[in-house]
C-alpha cells in the first residue's frame, strides 16, 4: 500500500493526471475520523492484473470544507461520495444526503466516533 499526501486544492488535478482507466481501477472513497475536528479522506486505486498493488491519495481536512467531486473523471465515484456525505456530514460537491439515512436526518454516524 502506497500512500500519497495531497491537499484540498490540488487533489483534483493530481487524480486527473494519475488516473488512467485502462490500467487503474478506482476502488472507493474512504473517510477516517482522526479526531472530532479532523477528517482524513482517501481515494483508493488498485492496478489491474498486478498482485497487491494499491495506491491511496489522501488529504486531511476539517469538517467544514467542501470536498471536490471527481465524478466527471470517474463516474463510479458518485456513490461513494454520497456515502461520505451521509456518514460524516461533510459537504461534497454535487452530492446530497439520503443514500442510507433520511434526507432530513441529523445523524452523522461515523463523525468523531473513533477515539
Amino acid at each position: 500500500m502506497q500512500k500519497i499526501q495531497s491537499s484540498l486544492e490540488k487533489i483534483r488535478e493530481e487524480i486527473e493526471g494519475f488516473y488512467d482507466q485502462k490500467s487503474w481501477h478506482f476502488l472507493t472513497l474512504n473517510g477516517v475520523a482522526l479526531s472530532n475536528e479532523k477528517l482524513e479522506v482517501q481515494w483508493i486505486f488498485s492496478k489491474y492484473a498486478t498482485p497487491d498493488e494499491v495506491v491511496v491519495y489522501y488529504i486531511e481536512v476539517p469538517y467544514d470544507v467542501e470536498i471536490p467531486s471527481i465524478a466527471d473523471i470517474i463516474p463510479s465515484a458518485i456513490i461513494s461520495q454520497r456515502e461520505l456525505v451521509d456518514m460524516f456530514g461533510i459537504a461534497v460537491e454535487g452530492s446530497t444526503k439520503g443514500l442510507y439515512l433520511d434526507e432530513d436526518s441529523m445523524q452523522t454516524p461515523l463523525k468523531g466516533c473513533q477515539i
Binding site: 482507466q21 476502488l27 472507493t28 483508493i44 492484473a49 497487491d52 458518485i78 442510507y100 439515512l101
Partner: protein, 362 residues
C-alpha cells in the same frame, strides 16, 4: 408536443426481489430513459458497531452478518486484514481449508443466482431443479462448518474445524454429482430458447463502459474486462490449485450466465484439487497482541471485488473499519445498463446482476 414520460416504480417489496430495493424507472413508451435507485432500506450501521461495540477478535463474526450469501468472504477479508495488522502467518493447511469453503460458497451463490435468472425468465421448473441441486453443496458446507449459511468458520489465526478423510470422500462424491448437473445446465442455458436466445443482446455492457464505470466481478468479465482479484492477490494459494479466469465478450445477460457457469466448473475443479492435495499441519496458530497500523485487503466475493480497510491503534477497539462491497460499487454501472432497455426486461436484467442489497447498505 412535448415528450411524455411515465414513472414506474419497481420495489420496495417485489416478488422477483429477495430484498427491499426501489428503482424508479422513467419510461418513454416501453423504453427506459432514466433510472433512480434507492438502496438504503437495509442500512443497519455495522461499520460503526465494529468500532464502538465489539472488540477486534469478535468483529470477524459481526461482519459475517452483513450478508448471508458471501458471509465467508466478509469474515475472511476482515480476518486477513487483522492478521496483517498483528503480523501473523497462518499455516498452509488453514489457508487451503479457507479457500475450500470460499469456493464452495461461490458455487452455491452462483447457483442461486442462476436459478433466480430462470425464475425471472418464467422457467419455474429449472428454478426448482437448480435449487434442489444446490442442496448438495449446502450439505457439504454443513458437514464442514456445522451451519448452512452463517458459518463462523474462519477465526483469527486459522479455521475452527478440521476435515476428516470420510468427509473428504463425501465432498468429492457430491462435487462429482454437481459437476454432472452443471454440464446439463450449460446445455440448457446454451440451447433452450427461453434461456439463451431471449437473453442474447439484452442488458449489454460494452467493454468501454466497463472500464469507464469500473465494473467488477462477473459483470466485468462478461464484458471482456480482465479483472479478478483472485488473480491479483498473493495470500491465498490460487495459483497452485488451478485457477483460470473465465471470460466472455458480449456483456449481455447470456454472457453473465455463461461466466457464472464456467466459474462453477472452475471452482469445482479447485475444490477437488484442495481436497486431494491438502497439506498436513495444524489448523490454528495462537496469535497474541493488538492490531496496530492500517491495511487494505481485497478479495473476490461471488459478486465481485470486496475491500476492507482496517485501522488499529494498539488497543482492543479498532479505529476504523471500511467495507466496500461489490454491489455498492456496481450501482453506477447498473444504472447505465438499464438505459435504453425495455421495461419488461427490467426484472430479468436485475436478477442477472445478482445484486446483494444487504451488502450494499451494510
Amino acid at each position: 408536443m412535448s415528450r411524455k414520460t411515465i414513472n414506474i416504480p419497481l420495489g420496495a417489496q417485489h416478488i422477483s426481489l429477495l430484498e427491499p430495493v426501489r428503482f424508479k424507472f422513467e419510461c418513454e413508451n416501453e423504453k427506459i430513459v432514466g433510472v433512480d435507485s434507492d438502496v438504503g432500506f437495509v442500512h443497519r450501521g455495522v461499520e460503526r458497531a465494529c468500532t464502538t461495540k465489539f472488540k477486534f477478535d469478535a468483529v470477524g463474526y459481526v461482519v459475517a452478518r452483513i450478508c448471508g450469501l458471501c458471509a465467508i468472504t466478509h469474515s475472511l477479508a476482515y480476518t486477513v486484514a487483522a492478521e496483517n495488522l498483528l503480523g501473523a502467518q497462518v499455516t498452509a493447511k488453514a489457508a487451503y481449508l479457507r479457500t475450500l469453503l470460499l469456493e464452495l460458497d461461490r458455487i452455491h451463490s452462483h447457483m442461486l443466482c442462476l436459478s433466480h435468472t430462470c425464475e425471472n425468465a418464467g422457467f419455474e421448473a429449472m428454478f426448482m431443479q437448480i435449487m434442489g441441486d444446490r442442496e448438495l453443496v449446502m450439505e457439504i458446507q454443513e458437514l464442514i462448518s456445522g451451519n448452512r449459511v452463517q458459518f463462523d468458520y474462519i477465526c483469527i489465526g486459522g479455521v475452527n474445524r478440521d476435515i476428516t478423510a470420510e468427509l473428504g470422500k463425501k465432498i468429492l462424491e457430491n462435487l462429482t454429482l454437481v459437476e454432472k448437473k452443471v454440464r446439463e445446465y450449460k446445455d440448457e442455458f446454451l440451447n433452450n430458447w427461453s434461456l439463451s436466445l431471449k437473453f442474447r443482446g439484452v442488458g449489454a455492457l460494452s467493454l468501454e463502459d466497463a472500464y469507464r464505470f469500473n465494473a467488477i466481478g462477473p459483470l466485468a468479465r462478461a464484458a471482456g474486462l480482465q479483472t479478478d482479484v483472485r488473480n491479483e492477490m498473493s495470500y491465498l494459494p490460487y495459483k497452485e490449485i488451478g485457477f483460470v479466469m473465465q471470460m466472455q465478450e458480449s456483456g449481455d445477460i447470456h454472457a453473465r450466465n455463461m461466466v457464472r457457469l464456467d466459474e462453477i466448473q472452475n471452482s469445482i475443479e479447485m475444490c477437488r484439487n484442495i481436497v486431494n492435495g491438502l497439506p498436513e499441519g495444524e489448523i490454528i496458530t495462537k496469535i497474541k497482541g493488538k492490531p496496530q497500523g492500517e491495511t487494505i485487503v481485497r478479495y473476490e466475493a461471488p459478486r465481485g471485488e470486496l475491500m476492507y480497510y482496517v485501522k488499529g491503534n494498539g488497543s482492543a477497539m479498532l479505529d476504523r473499519v471500511r467495507i466496500k462491497t461489490p454491489t455498492f460499487s456496481s450501482i453506477p454501472a447498473f444504472s447505465e445498463i438499464f438505459l435504453g432497455q425495455e421495461y419488461a426486461d427490467a426484472p430479468a436484467i436485475l436478477a442477472s446482476f445478482d445484486p446483494c442489497l444487504s451488502c450494499t447498505a451494510k
